[in-house]
Symmetry: C2
Subunit: 217 residues, 2 copies
């Protein structure tokens, strides 16, 4: 058995989601923690039904850590965080604070930003979630005005996830929140993010070339 | 220091949310695990700003476990699950499966059901999230048609949370999904849910009487 863990993503996606497919979260966490990983793929075409045994909502990523399998990027991040104190402190208070902010990113912030964004992409920019969206982002702006990192006074997996939620361009453009903007720049300025982002873009560009070649032969 | 942990909720809420305020999730988990707990309150009036130091989005619940403090019901559940194998198995595969389904409840199911419900309550029943809502609930119906519990072949904190997400009456009434309905009935039929639910209702009814008394004197 190799010493790598495996992150599964799509074999190809259109331009739009490139740089945002959530395997990036797991790549980034592995880069921060110094964990070796391999990338494997499932077909984008037929994703609605083809890999439901691995991911019951037809999505990516999912993770295989030497036989321990799990889907949901948030669950993958918490799993990786238990493997490395670079992602989460080991003391109970620091761990609790990190887990709470990780869940806050998923269930208090992204639970509003993603549906808001979905409705906007469907053409409904002034949708019914707009007021709620503003409230949640204002709360985050207040928090981030007072501290550099979300928990334990240093970078953790909670920052990785929260910055990934907040870096979506339509979310950044929603109002003027300088502390949030500085936070997103600070967290995504880390070498681990840059490498994970570059590698994901490269992965899908290579898939373009493979598709192109298949088409021309 | 007492051997209890403390769950914080509102001192009072209107009729509508009673039985659904999320302190119920933590009460229920404590009941399942046999963990002693005390209930303390913050005022419902002024909740938007009065307790932001304890909960940065102005919500409840939050938890104090002998000095370890955390907000977000999902984070509280994962914290409690680490204290008792009645909530989460101790083997790596069982733990990973439980965490993944806990996160799925928060970020793949509730991320759609709550915003959909919010828009419905605002009067927009056929809102832009309706198709997505149907897809997610269909995926859950397929999963629940094949298994009684979400992970490890037995009740875990993932079932507690998923059932709490799915038991909302408007969500239950959205389409006809018999396996989901049977699952919700099975999980919420547990004595731990019934006690937690009864205690929350009783807590707010007592608050009615206190308010009534204050008004009449």
């Amino acid at each position: 058995m190799s010493d790598e863990l495996t992150i599964w993503t799509y074999d190809w996606v259109p331009q739009g989601p490139r740089g945002f497919v959530r395997d990036l979260r797991l790549r980034w966490a592995c880069e921060e923690a110094g964990i070796n990983y391999a990338i494997r793929t499932v077909p984008f075409d037929g994703r609605e039904t083809n890999h439901l045994a691995e991911q019951p909502f037809g999505q990516v990523p999912f993770l295989n850590d030497h036989g321990v399998e799990l889907f949901e990027s948030g669950a993958g991040l918490l799993h990786l965080a238990r493997k490395s104190d670079k992602l989460m402190p080991r003391d109970p208070a620091g761990e609790a604070e990190t887990v709470q902010w990780t869940i806050a990113a998923l269930n208090s912030v992204e639970m509003v930003t993603v549906p808001w964004w979905f409705l906007k992409l469907c053409g409904d920019e002034n949708n019914g979630l707009t007021g709620w969206m503003g409230q949640r982002l204002d709360h985050m702006e207040r928090v981030l005005s007072g501290q550099e990192w979300l928990s334990a006074g240093r970078f953790t997996v909670a920052d990785l996830l929260m910055a990934d939620v907040l870096r979506v361009s339509d979310v950044r453009a929603f109002g003027d929140r300088p502390a949030t903007e500085a936070y997103v720049a600070r967290v995504t300025g880390r070498p681990g993010f840059k490498k994970a982002h570059r590698d994901q873009i490269g992965h899908f560009e290579a898939a373009d070339r493979t598709r192109e070649k298949a088409r021309s032969t």
